[in-house]
């Protein structure tokens, strides 16, 4: 195909000339010549056909396609002559473009693309903020939300949503775990989604007693029901509650999973999240809720009326909220609301983390390209003579530049296509195992935007590392170049400065990246080594969820917990066993108000946990005063409070024996435990109240065991013990406490790991850059250095000379890099824990590390220069 225009043209001309000859011959024949003579005469008269063809070809000249082809062939030839450079360049570009493309795909799918709902820009989340939770946004109290709905005009719809895991069964077989969404009946209207089969929820579905309906997602319908069109009207059991399927949602419909749509927007690692696939009405009666408490159990999702500004809506809400504040107890009236675009709510902090990753990878890419530019510049300088000859022989400068750009184009194109392949493969891996806990992960795939980005990146990098050398060639003055006898002297002052600038830029990027890496490592170390307030070694966890329907009777649940605990404690090697009502390290839950009975105006919001005796021993939480919960507390309404709460409500008084009220019941404080970060490693320890599990036996139970043996060895035994008490129970998770701790920090660990890898790569690249530039410049100055040594310069002076060569760009780059790093870190400071952005020790380490690396890179060329034999150098000239 590439040959065709030229080929056709040639064939056309050939045919034309032949027809001419034939005609001429025919004329001669008419004049009486024999056919042979006629043909001969015609050819004689015509002249040399080959020459005519040649002349025509010359006239045609070289068109753009031919030139490109020619240049490509020439570039290929050039690259084949230096396979080392070609391989390095392609590999660098492939990795750079691959990594950038992969990260950009994540940024694009997670952060940039709008949510896949009609007019998704109108969708918002509404949060409440209160003093106790340091005004962090939490899901609203349903009673407040009900008032918002009634008293504002900004929203076309407001739905409350709760996500959970539930066992789904069609009848006889074992239940499978699915993600379920419980919401007010208008959720689908708010999202503007219409089922493809059956109907959506009707207002009457939202009434207790008539709420036994369910709507399925397309994928659940496809997999579990094999796309049976008669699914409408079928009865399923969801968490042991029979429900009639009334609708199936469209194939394109996705709902954010429980981790993406948290009623606490505070960053915390969520539990397991399964893509939601069953929707059921909540049948909420707002009047059953109090004005206080019940925060964070629901997520408020609303649609703004078209053209309504979120700020307008927020102003309206503020008025309503002021009225609500009058209803809540005095100490908790610092209450306000905020409206956030749903997309931002879903993305959460992942956006910042991804942008940071993007910046890091682009920085690395830039450094790599600068290295290539430097290498190409070196190659260009050594090819200057060749260029000079070409110019002297009449080659146009434009052609020369184009020629040198083609080589880069070739490299970039190969690197880019390999890179996109790498990105696709990498993303497939990433989707399977994502340590970043990203929302919208199911939406991640390479698309046109991403491909355009990669193409732009490819050409951008090509220009970045190709234009400078090309311009260099353009400035070639053939006379000057050819007069110089030796290629060594080609490196002009200007090129030297240019290359020093490139090195400076590299150093800048590298130090900035190193600084941020340092800050993240510092933050991770802080998280890992800060005082947890509990001990994870040899502790194992097992979580079960009792279906509400079958286990609705509290005594059943108590009996179940009793029997499992008995079994666990009897198992060999178990030192202590306990249960708790919420999985540790998965954030604050069950937030309630608590007040002193004797001084009702002393109140606080707390996390409630129902635990068994042995809980504090198993986690080794420290007792500060009084005693821990014991078996006798089963019917005593005893409570253990955390140190933070004790200080808040009692200050200097002794809380032991004092009475508190929470959940409309009274409890007596029997003990105080030290604050612990068992809710989250990333936030301050919340105030806690621990009650005996008999008070409200939990449906979600986490059993924990401290064993003499390593935790991993008792996991199987825990499973057996639980099944012995309830054989048909689905055990949601069984893991060691250490695993839970690590998983809760997996995102931070991953970020730090990636940044460290990038930082090391950047450092190596910068070292390579320094080495390359310095050795080149030393070689070009060999004669001068030889002369200096001959005139008595000491080795030390030569070292100083070498150091002076790049000293200024390296130091300037270092300083600018530290500054840039600090500025960048300020933007992402909410990803850092216990780490100041301006961190002198990190800065010191980075500087030292970099200077050591730079010194190492500079040492070899400097030593080579210092150990020159002056006689030999001078003689060889």
């Amino acid at each position: 195909m590439r040959w065709s225009p030229r080929r056709t043209r040639e064939r056309d001309l050939e045919r034309e000339l032949r027809s001419h000859l034939e005609l001429a011959a025919a004329e001669h024949e008419e004049n009486g010549l024999s056919p042979e003579e006629a043909a001969l005469a015609a050819r004689r008269a015509f002249g040399n056909t080959t020459r005519i063809m040649e002349q025509a070809r010359e006239m045609w000249g070289w068109n753009a396609a031919d030139i490109l082809l020619q240049d490509l062939r020439r570039a290929l030839r050039n690259l084949r002559k230096s396979p080392g450079f070609a391989a390095t360049a392609i590999l660098t570009l492939a990795l750079g473009i691959g990594a950038s493309t992969a990260v950009f795909t994540l940024v694009d799918s997670v952060v940039l693309k709008p949510l896949a709902y009609r007019n998704s820009g109108e969708l918002v989340a509404i949060w409440e903020h209160m003093r106790f939770l340091s005004f962090d946004p939490v899901g609203p109290n349903p009673r407040h939300a009900d008032l918002w709905k009634k008293e504002t005009t900004s929203f076309s719809g407001l739905a409350l949503v709760q996500e959970a895991l539930a066992g789904l069964s069609l009848g006889s077989e074992h239940p499978r775990l699915v993600g379920s969404v419980t919401s007010s009946a208008n959720l689908l209207d708010v999202l503007q989604v219409t089922p493809v089969l059956g109907r959506g929820f009707l207002p009457e579905d939202d009434v207790k007693g008539r709420d036994n309906v369910a709507i399925l997602t397309w994928s659940l319908w496809q997999t579990v029901f094999h796309a049976d069109p008669h699914v409408i009207g079928m009865t399923i059991r969801l968490a042991d509650v029979p429900r009639v399927v009334v609708g199936v949602l469209p194939a394109s419909f996705r709902f954010p999973d429980a981790n993406a749509l948290r009623p606490f927007s505070r960053k915390q690692k969520g539990g397991i999240a399964i893509e939601p696939s069953v929707f059921v009405p909540a049948a909420l009666d707002p009047n059953t809720f109090g004005w206080d408490g019940d925060f964070g159990n629901w997520f408020a999702l609303a649609r703004l009326k078209p053209g309504t500004d979120p700020k307008q809506a927020q102003a309206q809400l503020a008025l309503v909220e002021r009225r609500i504040a009058r209803e809540v107890p005095e100490g908790q009236r610092d209450l306000y609301t905020s409206v956030q675009p749903l997309r931002d709510a879903v993305i959460g902090d992942s956006g910042t983390a991804l942008w940071m990753l993007m910046a890091a990878v682009m920085g690395l890419m830039l450094i790599a390209c600068l290295n290539l530019a430097n290498a190409q510049l070196g190659r260009a300088v050594s090819r200057q003579r060749e260029a000079a000859v070409s110019i002297a022989l009449g080659a146009s400068r434009r052609r020369l530049i184009w020629n040198s750009l083609t080589e880069n184009l070739l490299l970039a194109a190969v690197g880019g296509s390999v890179g996109v392949g790498l990105a696709a493969a990498g993303l497939r891996l990433f989707r399977g195992y994502s340590p970043l806990d990203l929302p919208r992960l199911s939406e991640v795939h390479l698309n046109l935007t991403v491909l355009l980005f990669s193409v732009a990146l490819t050409f951008g990098s090509m220009l970045l590392f190709g234009v400078l050398p090309a311009l260099k060639l353009m400035r070639t003055d053939p006379q000057v170049s050819l007069q110089q006898s030796n290629s060594r002297t080609f490196g002009t002052k200007r090129t030297g400065r240019l290359r020093a600038c490139l090195v400076g830029l590299q150093v800048l990027g590298c130090t900035a990246l190193l600084l941020i890496t340092g800050l993240f490592s510092n933050s991770l170390l802080y998280l890992l080594h800060r005082d947890k307030g509990f001990d994870t070694t040899n502790v194992s966890l097992a979580e079960v969820r009792l279906p509400n329907k079958t286990w609705s009777a509290a005594p059943d649940r108590t009996a179940f917990a009793d029997s499992v605990l008995r079994g666990l404690r009897a198992a060999p090697g178990v030192q202590s066993a306990a249960l708790v009502s919420a999985m540790p390290l998965e954030g604050e839950t069950w937030i309630e108000g608590v007040a002193r009975i004797d001084k009702p105006n002393l109140q606080s919001l707390i996390n409630l946990r129902w635990v068994s005796p042995g809980y504090f021993e198993t986690l080794r939480e420290r007792l500060v005063a009084g005693r821990v919960l014991e078996e006798r507390d089963r019917d005593l309404n005893s409570a253990v409070v955390s140190e933070g709460l004790a200080k808040a409500l009692w200050e200097n008084e002794n809380p032991i024996g004092s009475q508190i009220a929470t959940e409309d019941r009274k409890f007596t404080v029997v003990g105080i435990v030290a604050d612990s970060r068992s809710a989250s490693m990333k936030s301050a320890p919340p105030r806690m109240v621990y009650l005996h599990y008999k008070d409200r036996p939990p449906f979600a139970v986490v059993f924990m065991v401290r064993s003499a043996r390593p935790a991993g060895e008792v996991l199987a035994g825990m499973r057996q013990t639980i099944w012995k008490s309830a054989p048909d129970l689905a055990i949601t998770r069984v893991k060691t406490m250490n695993a839970q701790l690590n998983e809760s920090l997996a995102g931070e660990r991953f970020q730090t790991m990636v940044l460290t890898a990038f930082g090391i790569a950047a450092l190596l690249l910068a070292m390579l850059g320094i080495y390359g530039v310095l050795s080149y410049s030393m070689v070009t100055r060999m004669r001068e250095i030889g002369l200096r040594i001959a005139l008595g310069a000491t080795r030390r002076r030569i070292y100083a000379l070498a150091a002076g060569e790049l000293g200024i760009p390296v130091c300037a780059g270092l300083a600018a890099g530290l500054l840039a790093g600090i500025l960048a870190a300020r933007i992402i400071r909410n990803l850092l824990y216990g780490t100041q952005v301006f961190n002198s020790s990190v800065m010191l380490i980075v500087t030292a590390l970099f200077l050591a690396a730079a010194g190492m890179a500079a040492f070899l060329p400097a030593r080579r220069a210092a150990s020159l034999d002056p006689m030999e150098t001078l003689r060889s000239e």
Binding site: L13, H20, F46, Q55, A56, W60
Partner: protein
């Protein structure tokens, strides 16, 4: 476009282009016919070299002044020839070349045979 350069080749080339364009005013023709027409109308004074005719034809075609099409000859339907025909821009070009040529010959004539009525 060759400017005021007095290069011999370019001058000839320009002339040939003009002659070809002028020939095609009478209607489409193939290379052989063009060459023959020029030879015959100048009473064999101008012999068009085939070596310059064909490159010239292709050059003109490329510039868009003439267009080519393979057609069978009107007399015997057997043989196909590449027929060239003048395009509108070719027609314009012909006017340009003609006036240029006129100026040139006038100027040369003015030098060679100065005459009172040749003033400008």
């Amino acid at each position: 476009m060759p400017g005021a350069s007095s290069n011999r080749v370019e001058l000839l080339q320009g002339t040939l282009d003009m002659l070809i364009l002028r020939t095609l005013v009478f209607g489409p023709a193939h290379g052989h016919q063009i060459a023959k027409h020029i030879r015959q109308t100048t009473d064999d004074v101008l012999q068009v070299e085939h070596g310059s005719l064909y490159p010239a034809l292709h050059r003109l075609e490329r510039k868009g002044w003439i267009a080519a099409k393979w057609e069978s000859a009107a007399k015997d339907g057997k043989r196909e020839f590449k027929y060239y025909r003048l395009t509108p821009s070719g027609r314009k070009q012909l006017l340009v070349e003609e006036s240029k040529w006129k100026r040139l010959t006038d100027a040369i004539a003015g030098v060679m045979w100065p005459a009172p009525e040749q003033e400008r």
